[in-house]
Amino acid sequence: MTLQTTSHTFLGMPPFPEAARAALANTQQRRNLAHATATIRGKRALVVGEVERWEELRVAGADAKDEALHHLPHYLEQLEENLTARGATVHWARDAEEANRIVVDLVRATGSDEVVKVKSMATQEIELNEALEAAGISAWETDLAELIVQLGHDRPSHILVPAIHRNRAEIREIFLREMGTVGRAAPEDLTSEPARLAEAARLHLREKFLRARVAVSGANFAIADTGTLVVVESEGNGRMCLTLPQTLISVVGVEKVLPTFADLGTMMQLLPRSSTGERMNPYTSMWTGVHEGDGPQDVHVVLLDNGRSAVLEDELGRQALRCIRCSACLNVCPVYERTGGHAYGSVYPGPIGAVLNPQLRGTSSPIDKSLPYASSLCGACFEACPVRIDIPALLVDLRTKVVDEASGRSPEAASMRATAWMFGDHRRLEAAQRASTLAGRLLGGRSLRSIPGLGAWTQARDVPNPPRETFRQWWARTHGDDEEAGS
């Protein structure tokens, strides 16, 4: 079993409860997140409610991914054959380092010292930008949210909207301060009106698109029986990158394969409605190798393992590889909404991150040990997931593994057991939280750290006065309705 190496960025990450404590203290971020996730939950519920056969679609989506995953070698070989027949060059990368080396070499061969990039989880995961930078190649992120993150010297905190933790005023400041240092400066009279901010991004990036000779992308789907790659996006930055440069390099996780083109009939219904809460996203590009006289004539696809084969080994755990990165599970998660994405110590935050990171990287680091506990097992993520990944079941399974590994001896293992015990049964959790709320009223100003039986999570919150309403109570009050509408 070959796991992914945890990158230096996240290696020293504190366990989730500690990281969450810092995030919870950031009121601005919590406010931004609460607003954003409430908006998207409402939109998703509306457009999912429109589709009568939603449950059938979810089953078909899960089946399509399972078909591909169960026979992954077969479908990968088919994909490779079709891509090659259509003029693309296929590369294979065992891990992040190998993938980065392949991409750096390809860019060097073109003589270009810059690339434009379409938002891609896979390239974030392998930290391609850093590798390019080290090779003297500038990587320009072109997705608006990625641009905000890149210009803000920040890290993404959401799969779909990586700058979800930033509000418009902060974005304006970042644009004014940073755009001029890497290209066309933001207009001096820039306001925080979203339309003006989008316009500033348009102007800033256009000169980069027009002169770019190399683009790097990921892919939402790779169709085995045709060799077609699919990129789903909103702004047109994807189309720019996929169309204007001469050379296109796509880094694609091996789990992105779909058996047939017809499966898009299912996926193109599930993905947009689950992710941005739209009937369809503004733009989807599909390309099959090289199209003569149209778009990039030098087309490369890097198929990436980086721990995925290890995830596939686990009969129960492999369903996590169905994930189409829609982010619906993040948007409905009461823990994510409160802590934000950074606390998960990975490019994959939220419920799916709590599963996928320990699966991909193993459970040796403090952050990966604690992630399976970053959930109250309320089940909202499973209900929202368009490919029916049973995230709560996977979390419970991972908890067992963490506890087994620790052999129940270390104090850490003991605290894990306490948390597991508490989170393992929702009545216990509710009782503990009610007790803590009640205690808050009784305790006045004193800290709750010493209350026995409340476990690590209470400590992480570090609240001198427990809230009058726990997030579970709050969840029941504010989400009860849209839960029903959404499922």
């Binding site: 931004n32 989008a198 009939g265 739209e278 009937r279 503004p282 590009s285």
Partner: protein, 210 residues
């Protein structure tokens, strides 16, 4: 061992417990809504396209030219790009309008950036989502043409509009480059509010011909 061999071997080991053959799941299920009738499908299409804040005009075949001209005037376009395969009658009324018509003679990205608008046909429309799919045949031109100019006037025949997503997927030829367009370029990246107009055409005009 090459990376390819090693990855494939890891994946084979990982799936050693699977006993079914590839394709055992059978035909891909077609899950969509059937059209309640051509006129309802067309109406739903028009409604959903308009919902993205694209402008929608319905007209007869002999009125396309006027509809295109009106869209260009609304957006104050001065230079119009016309792919070679476009029906000439669509641009006929522009002759004395002062709007300059240009052809794609291998225009560079910079040259395209100086063009205000492009008019194209389309391959298929999807009613339930308000989507237009281009397959970049001669009457639509290569992909850059409908991307760099700030206005896209897209003409679609009523008989090209299907009801649901799987109907469209079944009609498309994956060997061609495909672009699915649902409204003008937009972003939800700032506080998850949808804002129209980022990098792709900020104005989308759809002309439905029946």
């Amino acid at each position: 061992m090459s990376a390819r061999e090693e990855i494939l071997s890891r994946l084979r080991t990982a799936t050693a417990d699977i006993i079914t053959q590839p394709g055992a799941r059978g035909e891909v299920p077609v899950i969509g809504v059937a059209s309640p009738g051509p006129e309802q499908t067309l109406e739903l299409f028009a409604e959903n396209v308009a919902d993205y804040r694209a402008s929608v005009t319905r007209c007869r075949p002999d009125e396309v030219g006027q509809a295109v001209a009106a869209a260009l005037v609304r957006a104050r376009a001065h230079v119009l790009l016309v792919p070679d395969g476009v029906d000439a009658t669509w641009v006929e009324p522009l002759r004395d309008s002062g709007i300059r018509v240009v052809r794609d003679e291998g225009l560079t990205a910079d040259q395209l950036d100086g063009i205000d608008a492009v008019v194209t046909a389309s391959r298929v429309g999807i009613a339930t989502t308000g989507t237009i799919v281009l397959d970049h045949a001669d009457d639509q031109g290569r992909r850059a043409l409908t991307l760099v100019p700030d206005q896209h006037v897209c003409v679609i025949r009523a008989d090209q509009v299907v009801h649901d997503v799987p109907d469209a997927v079944a009609m498309l030829d994956p060997v061609r480059a495909l672009t699915w367009i649902s409204g003008p370029s937009a972003t939800s990246d700032i506080e998850l509010d949808r804002v129209e107009g980022v990098h792709g055409p900020r104005t989308l005009d759809v002309v439905i011909v029946s």
